[in-house]
């Protein structure tokens, strides 16, 4: 890997097959520190699989992944060490249902990082405060709204002090009214300098937060570039079609309103 100190994540020629169907057909990209990459594309284009390959929740068939200066894909034994450094937020939250919001955030610190309980609790409360939920610390997931659940899950990932955050359609399972509060938290995170990969259909959000947008279809990257370029003058006709459709569906960005 080149000695670019700013490079946080590098994905090189990833291939993944499920049975005979090739889901990813050679994906490569890299992210510098503090950058936000937004991945868009139709369903089944391999976006979620790509995210899961990055932190090895799905084992890839071919390709390499680097986190800072270490190759993630080389050392299967240490995968748990790498996963700690890659925060993941799921579409359907996946909060631990038997634990309070506070314990959800705490458990990674206590069980994985082996931080002492008192210190872990303080950090967990601080993380919940960051997402505006310190008052809900003692509530269980079933007592929270969808937006609150997702904010807890963001806090849970952030508590591990990740180098990069991976968001897998974080607002797709939410009521329209609750999407805003979650996007707000993610936006704040982007501004604070967190490095992020976000899979989303929220085009307004993509335009305002992304340093670069990647358009995926059929397991390949069709187009990538800064939001303005992609939205106004994409290299490929297919990108324009997709963006037109999705913008119609999800509304225009704030500037256009």
């Amino acid at each position: 890997m080149q000695k670019d100190k700013n490079l946080v994540l590098r994905v090189e020629d990833i291939h993944k097959k499920y049975g005979k169907e090739e889901i990813l057909k050679g994906i490569s990209f890299e992210i510098e520190k503090g950058q936000t990459k937004v991945i868009i594309g139709p369903s089944g284009s391999g976006k979620s699989t790509l995210l899961r390959c990055i932190n090895q929740l799905t084992i890839l068939d071919k390709g390499k992944i680097w986190l800072e200066n270490e190759e993630v894909t080389q050392t299967k034994k240490n995968i748990n060490r790498f996963r700690q450094k890659m925060g993941m937020v799921f579409q359907d939250f996946n909060l631990f249902d038997h634990l309070t919001a506070l314990k959800n955030v705490e458990i990674g610190l206590v069980r994985v990082k082996k931080i002492d309980k008192k210190e872990a609790k303080e950090k967990a409360i601080e993380e919940l405060r960051q997402v505006g939920l310190e008052k809900q610390a003692d509530l269980y997931p079933a007592q929270l709204s969808g937006g609150q659940k997702q904010r807890v899950s963001i806090a849970r990932a952030l508590a591990m002090d990740p180098k990069v955050m991976l968001f897998d359609e974080p607002t797709s399972a939410l009521d329209p009214e609750l999407i805003g509060e979650v996007l707000e938290v993610i936006k704040k995170l982007a501004l604070s300098g967190m490095t992020m990969v976000v899979v989303t259909h929220e085009m307004g959000f993509a335009r305002s937060v992304a340093n670069e947008i990647i358009f995926m279809e059929g397991g390949r990257i069709i187009d990538q570039g800064i939001p303005y370029k992609l939205f106004t003058d994409p290299d490929h006709e297919r990108t324009r079609q997709f963006l037109c459709k999705i913008t119609e569906l999800y509304g225009k960005s704030e500037e256009e309103k």
Partner: protein
């Protein structure tokens, strides 16, 4: 009538000793079944296909035979063959426990599989090992869901324990039968025996109900549906 009551009264201490033996037997077998059943369920869900097949074979064997056949097979067959001179009580705990493990493993397996893949994914994404995820995330939830099924297993095992009469375990039925044949008064004796079993069943299920309520997750799985 008074004669019958007097007989019941006189035999009660003797029968209650049998009650203690039944409780020991059921407690021991449930405990053994729990200790073996948990790893079995985990192995069946998360293990490789060979381990999973081995566990299925075990379950198939112990669920496929009548409990009396199992008792005879092990007590008069295997244990004697191995030269183990086990007391009937110990042999009964082993056989009922091994059998209960087969049933309990399926209760736990069902609960684990009802949780959904997301819980494991989220745990692994935090950097937990598979074993840690099972211990801290999967089992605490699966065990809660298992309580109603487990309560069933308790009630069934308790009543099945009477069959150890056949290998001479001095439990409630054996003792009731002993007095009945000596006094020629089967009715009062077996009625008393029945009442003791009903109390034990009710009491145990009640305790498990209380446990279920105590560990239930707030806002989740309310016991009574409004629909």
């Amino acid at each position: 009538m008074n004669e019958n009551l007097a007989l019941i009264y006189q035999s009660l201490p003797y029968l209650l000793k049998g009650c203690a033996i039944t409780i020991g037997l059921v407690g021991g077998a449930l405990g053994l079944g729990f200790i073996i059943g948990i790893p079995m369920s985990v192995g069946q869900v998360y293990g490789n296909k060979y381990l999973s097949a081995l566990i299925s074979l075990y379950v198939w064997f112990f669920r496929g035979l009548p409990v009396l056949v199992l008792l005879f097979l092990f007590y008069f067959g295997l244990f004697s063959f191995l030269g183990l001179n086990l007391p009937a009580f110990t042999a009964a705990i082993l056989v009922l426990g091994l059998r209960s493990a087969a049933y309990q493993s399926q209760i736990f397996r069902g609960s684990i599989q009802s949780l959904g893949e997301g819980q494991m994914l989220a745990a692994r994404s935090l950097g937990m090992k598979k074993s840690e995820a099972i211990l801290y995330i999967i089992l605490p939830q699966a065990l809660r869901i298992s309580i109603p099924g487990w309560s069933n297993e308790y009630a069934i095992l308790l009543k099945d324990s009477a069959i150890t009469y056949a290998i001479g375990v001095m439990e409630i039925l054996t003792r009731a039968n002993f007095i009945a044949t000596r006094t020629y008064k089967p009715m009062p004796m077996f009625l008393t025996c029945a009442v003791i079993f009903i109390i034990l069943t009710y009491g145990g299920v009640k305790i498990l109900d209380l446990l279920e309520n105590k560990v239930s997750i707030p806002g989740y799985g309310e016991r009574r549906s409004e629909f």
